[in-house]
């Protein structure tokens, strides 16, 4: 008799595994870029690192940029599945679904303006052509940098699997000969939205 009861209980528990897989909704969640964030990068070593310092080497001026939705579409929690009287066998209490996101607009242009002269030959003003970019998402490929136009093109129809954040690094190709540097980044989107942000005042360290 005991064996029969144990067998029935075991069978019921095994049945719980069948609906135990999470069924994540694969539909992309829409979001809109409306905020920017700029972090200084220390790129003197082999790999760039975030830094709180406002001092950079003349040939290693670099910034990390994030574009995102201020309402915070970083992560979407799956709705609980109600199964009264019959709990599912799952590794986690709730389904850990990483929802894909798709922005309502894409980048069309990145323009960069220097508030100080970079060298005697490069006065203050438009310096977009002196910057290159490196996407920092998991999907980014290649070891080198890409032109700013290519970065903009990559955001067309892009699905964000990690979170609703467009993140990339911007690197200045030329050596800054002025003791200070500061840049204004202007991001233009396909819906004519323009986001503008300014870096902190960067002190250029001696070589």
């Amino acid at each position: 008799m005991l064996k029969k009861i144990l067998f029935i209980l075991l069978s019921l528990n095994l049945l719980r595994i069948i609906p135990g897989c999470c069924e994540c909704d694969e539909a992309a969640r829409p979001f809109s870029f409306n905020q920017t964030d700029i972090v200084n990068l220390d790129n003197t070593g082999p790999w760039p690192e975030y830094t709180d310092s406002d001092t950079m080497r003349p040939a290693a001026v670099a910034f990390s940029i994030s574009l995102f939705d201020s309402t915070g579409y970083f992560y979407a929690q799956a709705p609980d599945i109600v199964t009264p009287g019959f709990s599912q066998a799952k590794a986690f209490a709730k389904c850990d679904c990483a929802f894909p996101f798709m922005a309502n607009q894409h980048l069309t242009q990145i323009s960069i303006e220097s508030l100080y002269a970079l060298s005697p030959d490069i006065p203050a003003g438009e310096v977009s052509g002196l910057f290159v970019a490196k996407p920092t998402s998991n999907a980014a490929s290649g070891n080198l940098y890409i032109p700013l136009n290519d970065l903009c093109n990559q955001t067309i129809g892009k699905v964000y699997y990690d979170s609703g954040i467009e993140s990339f690094d911007l690197y200045l190709k030329t050596e800054v000969q002025h003791p200070e540097a500061r840049f204004v980044f202007t991001f233009t989107f396909s819906d004519s939205l323009i986001l503008r942000d300014t870096t902190r005042l960067i002190t250029i360290a001696a070589r």
Binding site: N43, T44, P46, W47, R57, A59, A60, V61, A62, V132, G142, N143, L144, Y145, I146, P147, Y171, L172, K173, E175, R207
Partner: protein, 295 residues
């Protein structure tokens, strides 16, 4: 990848030849003979390291990079004599770490009417030999000052596949229990191409560059000689068991040419250059001793 593509064709070809030979054997009443060799041996090869120039020479970093290397192996040989004339053999050498280091396939034809006590014939061989190129990035570490010479901090090891196709006449003597076979030959060997990438970054700067190497086969002629001595300890119609010694020597003048592509900052302005390092002598010798059993 190419190696994987070619190998099934060789197996298929060998199978077809075996099937054809078997049917001939059945018609003539000849009994097939199967021989299994188990040998322990030592392989050494020499390729003099050339002075370091402006361009990387991958063969300077062969194995230990000293120009001379030796390793031990366990040799498993299988041969099937399908008719009086035809014998097909495979030979697998497992290196000291039990990694397959050499695979050989051969087809041998004995001439029917040979005067005197000698037997002559011809043999065709196909061999695949594994070598490794180690820490070739040290070329950049030594030469690219001002840069993090290789952002890949892993041990840089490349499997180099050396393939050869050769033909060799042979002469065989069978005095009493001894069986001596000498086969001097020649052929073509080549390296299977591979790709490697070095990513560099200038110290204290944003400048990054990528160097890509796409190697070419670098075909070269070789001459080789193979001496096999067998001594039957047990000799009967259905069984032969004995000791065997095998020595193989190969000479070739070889280089590993490649195309080098360099990109700086972005992938927009690639600079390509075909580079052919100087050819120099490459030699390989195997010496092994073991037992065989023929059924």
């Amino acid at each position: 990848m190419k190696k994987d593509r070619h190998f099934p064709y060789f197996l298929l070809m060998l199978l077809m030849m075996l099937c054809q030979a078997r049917s001939t054997a059945q018609q003539t009443g000849f009994r097939e003979r199967f021989t299994f060799d188990l040998l322990f041996g030592s392989r050494s090869f020499q390729r003099e390291s050339l002075p370091e120039g402006r361009d990387l020479d991958f063969l300077n970093f062969l194995e230990t990079g000293t120009g001379w290397d030796a390793s031990q192996y366990l040799d498993l040989g299988f041969s099937l004599k399908t008719t009086e004339q035809w014998t097909f053999s495979t030979d697998l050498k497992l290196m000291s770490d039990f990694r397959p280091g050499h695979l050989g396939i051969s087809a041998q034809y004995k001439h029917r009417k040979t005067p005197g006590r000698f037997v002559v014939g011809v043999r065709a061989d196909f061999n695949v030999c594994k070598l490794t190129i180690n820490q070739f990035n040290q070329f950049h570490v030594r030469n690219d000052s001002g840069f993090y010479a290789d952002l890949n901090t892993n041990y840089r090891q490349v499997d180099l596949t050396d393939m050869s196709l050769g033909i060799s006449p042979f002469i065989e003597m069978n005095p009493r229990r001894f069986h001596l076979k000498l086969s001097p030959g020649a052929g073509v060997n080549l390296f299977l191409p591979f790709r490697e990438t070095i990513v560099q970054k200038e110290t204290g700067s944003n400048l990054k560059r990528e160097i890509r190497y796409n190697t070419h086969a670098g075909p070269a002629l070789f001459v080789a000689a193979d001496l096999t001595v067998r001594y039957d300890l047990v000799q009967s119609e259905n069984l032969s068991l004995g000791l065997m010694l095998q020595a193989v020597q190969l000479f070739s003048r070889r280089a590993l040419p490649y195309t080098r592509s360099i990109d700086s900052w972005t992938y927009e302005n690639t600079v390509h250059k075909n580079i052919s390092p100087e050819k120099t002598w490459f030699s390989r010798r195997d010496l092994s001793l073991g037992v065989y059993i023929g059924l």
